[in-house]
Amino acid sequence: MLLKPMAKPVLFVLALLPFAWLVFGALTQNLGPNPAEALIRSTGDWTLRSLCLVLAVTPLRVMTGTAALARFRRMLGLFVFFYAFVHLLCYSWLDMEFVVADIARDIAKRPFILVGFAAIVLLTALAATSFNRVVKAMGARRWQQLHRAVYLVAALALLHFFWMRAGKNNFAEVAVYAAIIAALLGWRIVHAWRRRRRPATVPTTRRAT
């Protein structure tokens, strides 16, 4: 099913639904008493959610042995960038009214804004190097090294969210995202460690002795 030609467009539309919902809500004035705040926060939430999704692709692929899942990784990664960019746009527009000097001052003054901004700069580099031609030009090895930066993005995004909620000592949601991301990154560490200890050619000999 994952190999069906329709699978990609369907996932594309699904991933766009939250955005469409927010645009619809904004146009019909259905985002509650403070629509600006609702837009900024929801786009941040969806950035984190798509980040969790894209980080889940490789663990799921390996654990279930579904190689076809890899087809969706780039698109999901670009959606992380998309929601992060819309998040930045909402903040710059609705909160800062596009006053560049104010934004620069805000980045310098507020650590959580700085951290969020750094994550978006990294994401931009990843999105810009996501084309086939760039991958080829960079070489697979260097490309992969660069794209490991997504782990740093995940850490920065979590820190950004944590600091934002720190004002109200309200960490319940932060803990949920932290647990998911920790599990997804933890799996990678364990997986890499196991592969190093045992060559892939003899996968199940240890127990046999």
Binding site: P33, N34, P35, W93, E97, D106, R110, G167
Partner: protein
């Protein structure tokens, strides 16, 4: 009525001679209309500003009528926020940290019976049943700006009377320098009290001269009706020149003390929330600017935010309370 001489000067007329209220008001209206016609455009715009201040009752809860306050600064001419926004976008952490939570969860709050205990350094400590507290002084309609520390604002028509009326009744001792406000913290009816966001109960405080300032309102209602639970029923404080969190909701104790009280937000994050917390566009919150604010329900999504005013626009009334104080230090 005619006073014929000194001996008969205090004979009262028959009650039938008294002009009925609606006739009196009718005459007033006629005079106003005439005046408006004569005085022209300036007068007409003044009249329409007055009309704006007449807030319709939402018809959700029991009526709580008040007389229009005559106090300087007590009735802003700005457009009141929609009742729906004012009663569904609240910070009342005892009912959850999301601003939509209080309206969803506060129905469990039991507001009858309710007593407010006045204690500490006073001559006449007392336990007031809410019914008696309501009648302690004449209820007034006041329309205040409300500026939240988070950077949004509303305009709320409150009903209540100056806290100073109560303070005079209980006669604070000379040693009483501050007033501490303790709010309800009942884990059975308030689901948020179990959380570790703040230390419960939520405590707020004012310096005695702030508490005595006539703009400091003991409020029992809004929009001509009793307070909805999520807005701090049955009785709360409203201090319009300070950030909203200084105005404690659902009060149960008013305590007169000598030392500056340790308030809930100050205890949670002293570097972010000071004791005074006066609205001040020049002193930023450590994590965001306080120079501007978004008026809820008023400005369009892409409209420029409005400038925050010193003491939330009440500088003329309260500025002298802070003469000579470094407001950056005492934030």
């Amino acid at each position: 009525m005619i006073f014929d001489d000194r001996a008969h000067g205090f004979n009262h007329g028959k009650s039938s001679e008294i002009t009925p209220l609606h006739h009196y008001l009718g005459r007033r209206r006629l005079i106003q209309t005439l005046a408006g016609g004569v005085a022209g455009a300036a007068m007409a715009s003044w009249a329409s500003r007055e009309a704006l201040a007449q807030v319709p009752r939402p018809g959700k809860l029991a009526a709580l009528p008040g007389a229009r306050s005559k106090l300087a600064g007590a009735v802003t001419m700005e457009k009141p926020t929609d009742y729906k926004d004012a009663s569904t976008y609240n910070n009342f952490y005892e009912f959850g940290t999301d601003k939509a939570d209080p309206a969803k969860n506060a129905h469990t709050l039991k507001t009858t019976p309710w007593t407010v205990e006045v204690e500490g350094l006073v001559k006449n400590p007392a336990k007031y049943a809410i019914e008696d507290l309501l009648k302690l002084s004449a209820q007034e309609d006041r329309i205040y700006r409300l500026r939240c520390v988070e950077g949004w604002s509303m305009v709320i028509p409150w009903v209540g009377y100056s806290l100073s009326e109560l303070i005079r009744k209980v006669e604070p001792l000379g040693s009483a320098k501050y007033v501490e406000f303790v709010t309800q913290a009942d884990p059975k009816t308030m689901p948020g009290v179990g959380s570790r966001v703040l230390d419960w109960p939520y405590v707020e405080g004012l310096r005695m001269d702030e508490a005595m300032h006539p703009l400091t309102l003991l409020s029992f209602g809004m929009y001509g009706e009793v307070l909805p639970n999520q807005n701090g029923a049955p009785v709360r404080l409203v201090v319009p020149w300070k950030y909203g969190f200084k105005s404690g909701k659902s009060l149960v104790k008013i305590r007169f003390v000598e030392k500056q009280p340790v308030t809930a937000w100050n205890r949670a994050a002293a570097s972010e929330y000071g004791f005074y917390s006066n609205v001040n566009p020049e002193v930023d919150h450590p994590r965001w600017s306080q120079a501007t604010e978004r008026r809820i329900g008023e400005d369009g999504l892409f409209a420029k935010k409005r400038k925050t005013l010193m003491f939330n626009g009440y500088e003329a009334q309260v500025g002298q309370l802070y003469a000579g104080m470094d407001l950056r230090k005492f934030y």
